[in-house]
């Protein structure tokens, strides 16, 4: 196993600015640097919205019993953007929300780093909660992102969200 077989999935082809523009327009993008929550949040400002709900998924220092040192996320960018657009479109049909944006980070992450950010605004509070949770669950189920955890003894393994 050599590192370079994963090079294409550890960084994005676009610039970070392009990724933010895609996220703002279509609702989803991958990013390969630290997620700027405030930039994402500002795109959701809307005077008709009384509710803003956001989720941040951060790298934990443990998973099950094992102590996690760091982990790396890998993504299939073009499919992720297409599937992400479909997820946000579907969320807007399912829930009474005004707008939603999500970004997933790829590359090497440290403990505490934000791996995924989902923000939703709506007139009333429950649709934002419901949509934020549904978008997150659907990202975890359908967005082509993979993760390898590295442990203290330098071993690593591929993880999966569904067993």
């Amino acid at each position: 196993m050599t590192d370079n077989v994963h090079d294409h999935s550890m960084s994005i082809k676009r610039s970070a600015d392009e990724a933010y523009l895609i996220a703002e327009r279509d609702g989803f993008a991958l990013l390969d640097i630290a997620i700027d929550e405030y930039r994402l949040k500002s795109t959701l400002d809307n005077d008709s919205c009384g509710a803003f709900v956001c989720f941040e998924g951060r790298v934990r220092n443990h998973n099950n019993a094992a102590s996690v040192d760091r982990l790396t996320y890998y993504g299939y960018e073009d499919l992720a953007i297409n599937q992400g657009r479909a997820i946000i479109e579907e969320a807007k049909k399912r829930f009474e929300i005004t707008h939603a944006i999500a970004i997933h980070r790829i590359g090497a992450l440290e403990i505490g780093d934000v791996a995924v950010w989902v923000g939703v605004v709506s007139a009333h509070r429950y649709p934002s909660f419901d949509a934020c949770r549904w978008i997150l669950d659907t990202i975890k189920a359908d967005i082509p992102v993979w993760k390898q955890e590295y442990y203290e003894d330098d071993s690593s393994k591929w993880l999966s969200n569904n067993g």
Binding site: M1, T2, N4, V5, H6, D7, H8, S9, G57, Y73, Y74, G75, Y76, D78, L79, N82, Q83, H104, A115, V116, L136, I139, K140, A141, D142, I143, P144, V145, W146, K147, Q148, W158, L159, S160, N161, N162, G163
Partner: protein, 93 residues
């Protein structure tokens, strides 16, 4: 004759660009390859052939498949020039 081998009859083959991610990239030991397969090769047959070539550990039943950067059904047809990715269980979030 394996359908992955180049054939002399250019009319009856199609070139498929296959990209690999995660454990499949480890097992194939490459990021992508262009394979020439017989016309009408199905996605299932394509995975079977590549699975033999690279000794993939995952059965097709555990995978999803994407064609040209969209999720596809295993029964979808592929055409010359298509880009195909086999998707192992994802782990985002």
């Amino acid at each position: 004759m394996s359908a992955i081998d180049m054939t002399t009859n250019i009319e009856s083959t199609m070139n498929i660009n296959v990209m690999y991610f995660a454990s499949l990239a480890d097992e194939a030991n490459c990021q992508q390859e262009t394979v020439s397969v017989q016309q009408d090769t199905s996605l299932t047959e394509l995975y079977e052939q590549l699975s033999q070539k690279h000794r993939f550990s995952r059965p097709q039943s555990e995978l999803r498949v994407a064609v040209n950067d969209y999720f596809a059904k295993w029964t979808d047809q592929i055409n010359d020039g298509d880009s195909v990715v086999f998707i192992t269980p994802v782990a985002g979030g």
